[in-house]
């Protein structure tokens, strides 16, 4: 066993593997930061180049792209309010506000450090407890997934901003949008109006690009450029060591959340970062809670460490059971098979050296991410020095490019545009966009698994409380929802008292 570990480490340390890893991370950062270009695309692009290359060298490049792209989606979220990937949407909760405060460099540095730490901790989990973790994830059936989705919905309150009611409305709109298309269980068409393009539903990525980027461009057109001018002078504010010291437990907790959610197939990093943000908010005292949504660096530490920790987590079911949790890991599964490796329990016994090589490559990717990311944190805020009059039209061009590139579909471009106008209108109505996106991501998990559970139990609701994991998650969710309602009522009473006091 020990020789396999040493051999694996040595495979990942050969110069070709190191260079492939570095280039992979760099390519991943480019792909992640461009809206619409995804980690999946970057990996798929590289796979043909890995034919005939040593497996560990090939995986050094592929994992580099994966790690780089997941990290970099947040860079444009923070700088120009345009998330590069769906997973980076949570960075919008604090990132743009930090940039407006002139703390773009600080936010990018925290993003880099938190992502690298999150990535490394998830590697550690992958190496040490992969098989055990995979077994826990394997016990998840439809009721557990439904309970988890319901738990995710409780986060809507945490990302709603000032009005819980408007957050709820946003969540319901998002949920409804996700219902458009073919029904996942019976294949019945819903709200498709005989349009074939709508059969597969509305893709989250073009919707996300439109919702956040186009609405932002339209808002900027209203002439709110004073903030932009003000922040140019201050983009040099960097991160202090105390910021990191203050957040060590937050990063640790968020990484654990990210790793665990990564392990559960089909949940994804978008959900993980929202959960981590919400947990941080819940753990904060009343005074700190007021800082959220106004540019709080702690929020960035939570979302980014969770987001990147998903990378290690998602590899657990892939390598140990041969189950890909999402599209990226499905592409990686293909890459493993091209190399003649069959993912699953036997992989550890038959090709232990390669597995340990892959683990080492993932660790190296995260180290390169730290190095390249810290460099990028210094250079990228300079984007903000491009005059808004050029930057905003350029962002629109990237939105068109990104939404088209996802599946070479002009329909996706139209979806992006429609969601852009919808996002702007909702912002004018004071309806927050984050809950809408969160509900769009969670709705398919909730609907499919609720209905599967009903089919399994012959419409008996007790299936949700007779299975231990599902019962615990539902009880926790109900407790949280109860607390949210209680707090909301308390807030309302206090407001009423203060109004009466004034009069």
């Amino acid at each position: 066993m020990s020789t396999e570990v040493i051999e694996g480490i040595l495979y990942a340390l050969v110069p070709a593997a190191i260079i492939a890893n570095l280039l992979g991370v760099a390519l991943g950062i480019v792909f992640g930061s461009l809206p619409g270009l995804t980690a999946t695309m970057g990996i798929a692009l590289l796979i043909p180049l890995t034919f005939g290359i040593d497996p560990v060298v090939a995986f050094s490049a592929l994992l580099g792209v994966y790690v780089g792209a997941v990290y970099a989606g947040s860079l444009t979220s923070i700088l120009v309010g345009t998330p590069g990937t769906a997973a980076a949407a949570a960075a919008l909760l604090e990132g743009p506000a930090l940039t407006k405060k002139g703390e773009a460099k600080k936010a990018l540095t925290m993003t880099t450090v938190a992502s690298a730490v999150g990535g490394l901790l998830s590697c550690l989990a992958l190496i040490l407890i992969a098989p055990q973790l995979a077994n826990v994830a394997l016990t998840f059936g439809p009721p557990e997934y439904f309970a988890l989705g319901l738990f995710g919905i409780s986060i809507v309150a945490g990302v709603s901003g000032d009005s819980l009611l408007k957050g709820l409305i946003a969540g319901l709109i998002g949920f409804f949008i996700a219902l458009i298309g073919m029904d996942p269980i019976t294949g019945t068409n819903r709200f498709t109006f005989e349009n074939a393009n709508l059969l597969n539903g509305i893709d989250v990525v073009p919707a996300l690009i439109g919702l956040f980027a186009i609405s932002e461009v339209l808002t900027r057109l209203e002439g709110k450029s004073e903030q932009m001018k003000a922040r140019l002078a201050e983009t040099s504010i960097g991160m202090k060591f105390t910021d990191l010291k203050k957040n060590w437990f937050n990063i640790l907790r968020s990484s654990a959340i990210g790793t665990f959610i990564g392990i559960i197939p089909a949940t994804g990093s978008g959900v993980a970062s929202f959960v981590a943000y919400n947990e941080l908010k819940r753990a904060s005292n009343e005074e700190d809670k007021k800082k959220f949504g106004k540019g709080n660096i702690d929020g960035i530490a939570a979302t980014e460490s969770a987001n990147s920790a998903v990378t290690g987590g998602a590899l657990v079911p892939l390598l140990t059971l041969g189950i890909p949790g999402d599209v990226i890991t499905a592409v990686l599964l293909g890459a493993l098979m091209i190399q003649g490796l069959t993912p699953g329990p036997t992989l550890f016994t038959t090709n232990g050296d390669i597995i340990y090589g892959i683990f080492t490559a993932l660790i190296i990717s995260n180290i390169f991410l730290l190095i390249l990311g810290l460099g990028a944190a210094k250079v990228l805020p300079k984007i903000l020095q491009i005059p808004e009059s050029i930057l905003m039209p350029t962002i629109v061009v990237f939105c068109i490019l990104g939404s088209y590139s996802i599946s070479n579909s002009t329909f996706d471009v139209l979806i992006m545009l429609v969601f852009g106008f919808l996002g702007y209108l909702l912002l004018k109505f004071g309806i927050p966009l984050a809950p809408l996106l969160l509900a769009m991501i969670l709705a398919p998990i909730i609907e499919t698994n609720f209905r599967r559970s009903m089919l399994l139990s012959q419409n008996d609701f007790s299936i949700f409380i007779t299975r231990p994991i599902s019962a615990v998650v539902i009880i926790v969710t109900l407790f949280i929802l109860g607390r949210i309602l209680w707090n909301e009522m308390k807030k309302k009473n206090l407001k009423q008292q203060s109004i009466e006091g004034e009069s």
Binding site: K166, L172, F176, L179, F191, E222, L417, F450
Partner: protein, 149 residues
Amino acid sequence: MKKEVIDLGAGTLLFSLATIGFFFTSQIDSNQPYGPSFFPKLILTLLMIASIILVVNTIFKWKASKDTFQLDKNILLTIFIFTGVLIGYVLLFFVTGFIISTIVFLLVAQFIFGVRKPVLLIGVSVILPILLYLIFTKAFNIPLPGFFE
């Protein structure tokens, strides 16, 4: 105008849309208790209830509220024009492909955003689309519609 007008408008619009949506759910075939129409009906009902609460809350707040807002006609006009430009860009993108539509869009959009220097206006509008086209198609191998494809 009182700020509450916005919430009142939002609530009424959402209620109307949710009601229309609910009407369409009757067209979804379903003979199971938790079939394809279950979630659409549930979500749209909740949306109707939430919109009613929003409207009722707003009516109760109406008298006490002092916040007002004003519509700036110039801003409104700029937004309308830019919306038209965006729609035009997408339509042109479908017809002429990426490069030509983007050149036209960048020229118009930069002008709306206030760029007046001809060198900057033309330089960015021509160089950026060609550069992006080459990077995407040659380096990333991602096909983009070219000229009149």
